[in-house]
């Protein structure tokens, strides 16, 4: 039963991940941390760091990690299947249907890609409140934000750098 729940949660996320894997992170956070309470915000962020520095699509990596952490190897398989299967449904079935049935499907797809900002922003705020707890963490967050906005650094390097700064500042 737990495997089914895990599969269904990730199926739902994969099915609605308009705008790609990154866009799904908001929904994953909501589903895993808030709705099911399977993980804390900090554990969720740890797995994102690791998913980011490991090769592969981030939503798939996250699903595999969460599944493994919760239910071992069978859990990893259920979650990974759950997040990947909807892509087949969309590519083979749905995209053809809505192209034919709905004349304004273009508007709908565009609107869905804008609306996906909602869970991402909510997750960002919720994660910020977990990680930024005092002046020290606030200063690091602001510095990293400025670095991110004004320098084009690969994300993997960016994570490595923030981790190193955490070590230097003895968090």
């Amino acid at each position: 039963m737990e495997y089914v729940n895990l599969f269904l949660s990730f199926f739902k996320i994969g099915f609605l991940a308009f705008g790609g894997g990154y866009a799904a992170l908001g929904m994953i956070q909501d589903e895993i941390v808030r709705i099911h309470g399977w993980m804390s915000n900090s554990e969720f962020l740890d797995l994102l760091s690791l998913a980011q520095i490991t090769p592969g699509p981030i939503a798939v990596n996250s699903a595999t990690y969460i599944g493994y952490k919760l239910l071992g190897l069978p859990g990893a398989i259920s979650a990974t299947l759950g997040v990947t299967l909807p892509s087949f449904l969309w590519v083979f079935v749905i995209i053809n249907l809505i192209e034919r049935v709905l004349r304004n499907s273009k508007y709908l797809l565009d609107a869905l890609k804008m609306g996906i900002v909602t869970p991402i922003l909510a997750a960002g705020i919720s994660l910020f409140r977990t990680t930024v707890v005092d002046l020290r963490t606030f200063i690091l967050a602001v510095a990293l934000f400025i670095l991110m906005r004004y320098k084009k650094i690969p994300l993997i390097v960016f994570i490595g750098l923030s981790g190193l700064l955490g070590m230097i500042l003895r968090f």
């Binding site: 705008g19 992170l25 981030i58 798939v60 609107a111 890609k113 909510a122 994570i159 700064l165 968090f171």
Partner: protein
Amino acid sequence: MLDLILTLMKISIIGLGGGYGMLPIMREELVEKKKKLKDSEFLSIIAKAQSVPGPIALNTAILLGRMEKGVLGSILCALSIVIPPFFAILGVAIFFEKFRHVKLVESFMKGARIGVTIIIINFAINLMRRIMNHRFAFFMLALLIGGSLAIIVFKVPSILSFLVVAFIIVPILKLEEGREKWNT
């Protein structure tokens, strides 16, 4: 087909940093080196992969496989892009769960958590900036921010909030004349 599978496996391993990191490598391998596709064909596949939900790299692999060998091809290509990272992250997970309580690892992860938080907030900001050239941008931004507050403050499930916001945006998009395209 075998060639495509091997190429995708290779890409899935060297493509660090998620799907968007993989796309340039995919183009280089499939268009420039292997000459399997023309640049324009590759671009139209990417456009389609981005118009449906799901990880871009996975959608692209499914579409490439479908072009080559139908359903079977798409399953094989999806497996090629998912299985190598599956074992990589599994290895990392097993390793990390053992060492997570080492002090130095803990400090590193605490710093990295802030880094990831910033990446997510920055991603949201970039998506919102793309909306700025819409005629009703201000109203749309208010909707998006209102929707996220509903999630945080009133504990509305994020999927519900997201769908409601999207359905309100549809008629606004229809209203706008000469609207900008929402690509990439």
